[in-house]
Symmetry: C2
Subunit: 323 residues, 2 copies
């Protein structure tokens, strides 16, 4: 099986790549070839028996998608996007990459010919939902986003469903929770502090908390996110009809609950490194985000997190990142 990962240099892309190369198979099928794409050249993990090709191309360039699918990968993971904060700050760039780039990909598959019909796993986001919300968002709650990022993801979900219904590809959109704890440096996501308040203190550094401790949010570990992607890629898609975009399971935790978990796992010293510094811009964006879900459709299809508590999420971070 040939696999294409679009947006492979991002955090989830790197972890997905490592997992696929370690497993050597996807579902029941052996992997023969992996193409890793990003705008910057992705690193090809060394010493593997699977052929790994890396390409650095701009997906918002109309010719890119056709080049990416030239080898007719049977499975495509489309993870590429600019994040919420950047899509809000740069209207044109957000639409160009998050919407037009995705549409170029879908069109390249449509016009490829020769009966080409890959499985396409698209990472959407809980940002497709906007306030006001019910206590827990069900599977048929409307996607009324309050950010341009959420709008772009919601549009791609609609396109994915229509292209799949038409038989152009076999798509599944998975709405990832906020991924915690993100390793590395902060990115431009407005949700960055959810990881920052855990990651920085564990590293002996100060972290800024821009919102109140009563802020509830929907979390999953990077390990769970990779699990969702693999499950989506191997799923019997006849079970999806007619709903191909699914909210992934996660943990509903308040910022206060995160801080308590940090206290249990790393002690008072770590918690003292969190500094409250209210940021009305971040607070306004986060206030429009969903807090809690009832992801019944996804759990019925076998999607599940590997963690049960936010303590688990912190432990997974330490294990996976060797911290």
């Amino acid at each position: 099986m040939r696999i294409l990962i679009i947006g492979a240099a991002g955090m989830i892309g790197r972890k997905l790549t490592a997992r696929l190369l370690a497993d050597g198979r996807l579902g029941r099928r052996q992997i023969s070839h992996v193409t890793l794409h990003d705008t910057v050249m992705p690193q090809a993990p060394a010493g593997e028996t699977i052929a790994v090709e890396t390409v650095a191309l701009d997906l918002a360039e109309p010719s890119t998608a056709g080049r990416l699918i030239a080898g007719r990968p049977e499975t495509i993971f489309h993870l590429a996007a600019i994040v919420s904060g950047e899509a809000e700050a740069d209207f044109e760039k957000g639409y160009r990459i998050n919407l037009d780039g995705t549409r170029y990909l879908f069109e390249a598959i449509r016009t490829a010919g020769g009966g080409y019909r890959p499985r396409l796993v698209f990472t959407s986001s809980i940002a497709v939902f906007g306030a006001p919300f019910p206590e827990a968002i069900g599977d048929d709650f409307h996607t009324a986003p309050l950010t341009s990022y959420g709008t772009q993801k919601a549009i791609c979900e609609l396109l994915l469903a229509d292209y799949s219904r038409r038989g152009i590809f076999d798509g599944i959109g998975i709405r990832l929770p906020t991924i915690s704890v993100r390793p590395g440096r902060p990115n431009k996501a407005a949700s960055g502090f959810f990881s920052g308040i855990i990651r920085e203190p564990l590293n002996g550094e100060e972290a800024i908390l821009p919102v109140g401790e009563d802020t509830r949010h929907w979390h999953a570990s990077p390990r769970s996110a990779v699990g969702f992607l693999l499950h989506a890629a191997a799923l019997d898609s006849t079970r999806l009809e007619p709903r191909r975009n699914l909210t992934m399971p996660g943990l509903c935790v308040t910022v206060g609950g995160q801080i308590e978990a940090l206290h249990r796992v790393a002690g008072e010293e770590a918690v003292r490194l969190i500094r409250c510094e209210p940021d009305p811009i971040v607070a306004r964006i986060v206030a429009g985000w969903p807090q809690n879900f009832d992801p019944h459709a996804a759990t019925a299809l076998g999607f599940a997190t590997v963690e049960r508590t936010f303590d688990d999420i912190i432990r997974i971070y330490r294990e996976d990142e060797g911290i």
Copy 2:
């Protein structure tokens, strides 16, 4: 006030034009100028004091939208679309006109400069919803369309909400019920028979009924549709935040109920002209369409139909068309 009607040659566009020119004002403001656009040259009603300009241009041509808004109309009615049956039959044409054309319009407004921020009324459709449905579809039910037409309308709704949230224009999307009774000849809409089974018998002609009599659907008269458009154009849009796309009120009637109304209004002779001829393609499309709504948000904002029964709908058709 300057008004632009995009898609003015269609049935709703012609009725909206006639009403605006007869009223001479929109809400509290006098109308000074109306631009009527369509792909075919719209007819300019004669003998009016308001300046009426007509243009025939393809909205899917990137330069068209900029030319249409060159006079900086304060109110834009965007009615242009190819209908559901045609959008399903011609994938590329549907996306080019119903999605790209709308996006060109939105982008032309965004890049117009000079603080230009018109009211933009967009006609969406109940086709943004797809089965399975609850007994009555509420205002926060998800838009999971089962046609390309519905997908295109749902995407335009998302764009309208985001562009409005950004302050680019002051948009409102109204999801029209199926308009009954449509005058004139059948068009390519898969919903055409809902009107045909009334219109043709009233005209002494045979009508084909391609679905079962238990098929329930959501109807409004053309007169109500024009009323919705005018109400949307004059509404205080601060009352819309943050939801700018609204399901319009209508009547939930079965095909059997339509036929009974025809019997009451026009007698047995008319009903005998309806011939059942099941069409599995039409039946499949219609089965994915919504049947009943609870359009609470729209009614709270003052949107209302002028008819109370399907008998009224037939009488309005006869009055308005002189039949």
